[in-house]
């Protein structure tokens, strides 16, 4: 690492250790790093938004490409700012209504297709006498039992209660698998910071 890189990485290492200090107890170093990242994150996003989004989607189309029809959604977007005014707040509802209406209209058939149709289609698979066929049968049974568990219009007693029990067991296996993978995921974040600190201190003292 060059001297400049050592200094920058030194800053990163210092801020990393500030955050880790929270594990012992809350302290001013942790608070400093926490507040700094909030300001830096917002400042970063503001300028990124200006250069890549506001410029590309509002200024560039209207002033360089001559697409004057962008003026209407621009006005509607500015109407959103009236939310802070008690007198004019009703204007923001028009823009929000358009936004919500389009979003729900587009989403409705897509949710039906992706969350319901494709999932049901993939559940109804041919069964045969093989390991694959046995797994497919198990899959169908587990899915039906899981859906039965969430059906609260009928009391979970007798055979229905038995299926519901299989459903909750299936859910617990699913949550257990999620937990196992979550542990891997969370630890990976810690490992990356440890590797960073190791490489920094080797560069600092090793060279």
């Amino acid at each position: 690492m060059t001297t400049v890189e050592l200094l920058w990485n030194g800053l990163a290492a210092f801020l990393t250790l500030c955050i880790f200090s929270f594990l012992y107890k809350d302290n001013p170093f942790y608070k400093f790093a926490e507040q700094l990242v909030a300001g830096v994150a917002l400042g970063y996003w503001t300028m990124l938004l200006y250069h890549t989004t506001f410029t590309d989607k509002v200024l560039f189309p209207i002033f360089q490409q001559g697409k004057l029809h962008y003026i209407l959604p621009t006005i509607m977007g500015i109407m959103m700012w009236t939310r802070f005014s008690k007198k004019l707040a009703y204007l923001s509802r028009i823009a929000i209504a358009f936004y919500i209406g389009v979003g729900t209209g587009v989403g409705l058939p897509l949710y039906m297709y992706n969350y319901v149709f494709r999932q049901l289609q993939a559940t109804v698979v041919p069964l045969n006498v093989s390991w694959l066929g046995f797994n497919s049968l198990l899959m169908v049974v587990f899915i039906i039992c899981t859906l039965i568990y969430f059906f609260f219009s009928k009391e979970h007693t007798g055979a229905f209660g038995g299926f519901s029990r299989v459903g909750i067991y299936t859910l617990m296996v699913g949550f257990g698998a999620s937990f196992g993978l979550t542990v891997m995921g969370r630890v990976a974040l810690l490992v990356q910071r440890i590797i960073f600190l190791r490489e920094y201190f080797i560069a600092l003292f090793g060279s």
Binding site: V40, I94, T123, F142, R186
Partner: protein, 206 residues
Amino acid sequence: MRRQIPLYIVLVSGIVFVIQFFIPSHESEFIFEYGQDWVMVIGILALPLGIWSYLRKTCLTAVKKPKERFFAGVSLFGFAIMMLTGLRRESLMAGSLYMDLFNYILVPIQATIFSLLAFYIASAAYRAFRARSVIATLLLGTAFIVMLRLIPLGPISDANQALVAWILSVPNMAAKRGLLIGIGLGAIATCIKIILGIERTYMGRD
């Protein structure tokens, strides 16, 4: 009237875009493209609201709470320095001061904040992960088997990997699919309620 017009807008635009999905024509695609584009522009102009809210809250904290003044000042300083260094579009490229501040302040702090979760999950595993009942044992056992796959156990490793693959692709998949179908039906019901004006929470209060 002030509450009726938005409801009619939601009704008309919602129905138009549901029908649009089923009509493959140039006119239909035209409506879709312009509708989405306009929604994007409206959304882009709504984002400064969040920025304004945060700045207002931080400035008020700096003024009204002497104990928090220094930290509020740190936050505003960070915001100001990023605004100043990011004024030109060229600042977005790797190697600029703006990107160096991003890489050496924002990235390590955010990454480290989330890395604390590893400690919390270890603590939770020690304190709460107990085989109190059949259901808890099932959850615990499955998590145990999945976590074992990163530990080399010689001949047992192959069997463990195969078992984990089966757990993920059969019972886990079935459980998640059951949840997905439920979520999907709930989302569809919510969309219909919004379009028909039954659900109006997005409008806020008068």
